[in-house]
């Protein structure tokens, strides 16, 4: 499956690259006199800050436990023990946070999990 780029994804990717960037230029510098550096600070919208998101899998009485474990191993590359731990957390607590990070990757994981027919959602942290 491939994920269609969402609107503005390029802009978000750019903001990720420049996240926290403060460019400092030292213009017209010469050995004798050093002028105070000009500090340019980028302003970013709240969306550009792109708070971390989390991928959550919800309990589903139909999906087999062994199947869910296999899906976690495949999608997240988790070792069997970790995948089983998350599967049991889903089973006993109703949900488990499988991953957290940037939105685009979280969307991709959720898409993959839906491809395996698991009940998965992404949520913004905080």
């Amino acid at each position: 499956m491939s994920w269609q780029p969402r609107r503005g994804s390029a802009e978000v990717a750019q903001s990720e690259r420049s996240e926290g960037a403060i460019s400092i230029s030292n213009q017209n510098a010469n050995p004798a006199t050093v002028e105070a550096p000009v500090i340019e600070q980028e302003t970013r919208s709240e969306e550009d800050l792109d708070l971390p998101w989390q991928v959550i899998v919800h309990n589903d009485p139909v999906n087999l436990m062994s199947y869910v474990t296999m899906v976690f191993q495949r999608v997240f590359g988790y070792p069997r023990e970790k995948a089983e731990r998350h599967m049991l957390e889903v089973h006993h607590k109703g949900r488990s946070i499988l991953w957290s990070g940037m939105r685009e990757r979280a969307e991709l994981y959720v898409q993959q999990l839906h491809g395996y027919l698991l009940l998965a959602t992404l949520e913004k942290i905080g």
Partner: protein, 170 residues
């Protein structure tokens, strides 16, 4: 019915007409059309209702891909099940051979079918965990048996093909 792994195939042999019919029903059972609860389960939202943008884009871009993915799996299974087409009286001597490379398609189709049936009959957790329920006295009981039978096949595929990809047994 006997089920085993032979080299790069799964073999289901000594099929009685009842189980053969349940196998043949996998593609049709996986179809959620006409059952809104099943449709909602197979195509559940990717985020809460507050994330309207994500949900709208998902519906536009991802759902069609998921439909294609699920349909491809059921088509693969339907093609394998062609081996069971014909006179049901001869099923006892039939062997269904499933190529190991179709294991993912079978897992998906069986899962789709189980989810659609469970959504259609709104089975409770208790019913779904009751693997020894008997006898089959109603359409609901039959459907629950179908869910469990498909689950048994999934477990076998997971154990024999997915967990042990290179395993050979004769």
């Amino acid at each position: 019915m006997e089920i085993c792994r032979r080299e790069d195939k799964l073999e289901i042999s000594e099929l009685d007409p009842f189980l053969a019919e349940l196998l043949r029903q996998i593609p049709a059972s996986a179809n959620p059309e006409g059952t809104p609860t099943a449709e909602q389960r197979l195509f559940s939202p990717p985020a809460g209702p507050r994330e309207r943008e994500i949900c709208a884009e998902w519906k536009l871009y991802v759902q069609p891909e998921l439909r294609r993915l699920f349909r491809t799996a059921t088509e693969t299974v339907a093609a394998d099940l062609e081996q069971l087409s014909g006179n049901e009286k001869t099923f006892a001597n039939r062997t269904l051979r499933i190529p190991a490379k179709h294991a993912d398609a079978w897992l998906s189709a069986l899962n789709q079918a189980r989810l659609v049936i469970a959504a259609k009959y709104n089975f409770t957790d208790g019913e779904l965990c009751d693997h020894y329920r008997s006898p089959i006295g109603s359409r609901r009981d039959l459907s629950l048996f179908q869910v469990n039978f498909y689950g048994f096949l999934q477990e076998f595929i997971l154990r024999e093909v997915i967990d042990c990809p290179g395993k050979n047994s004769d």
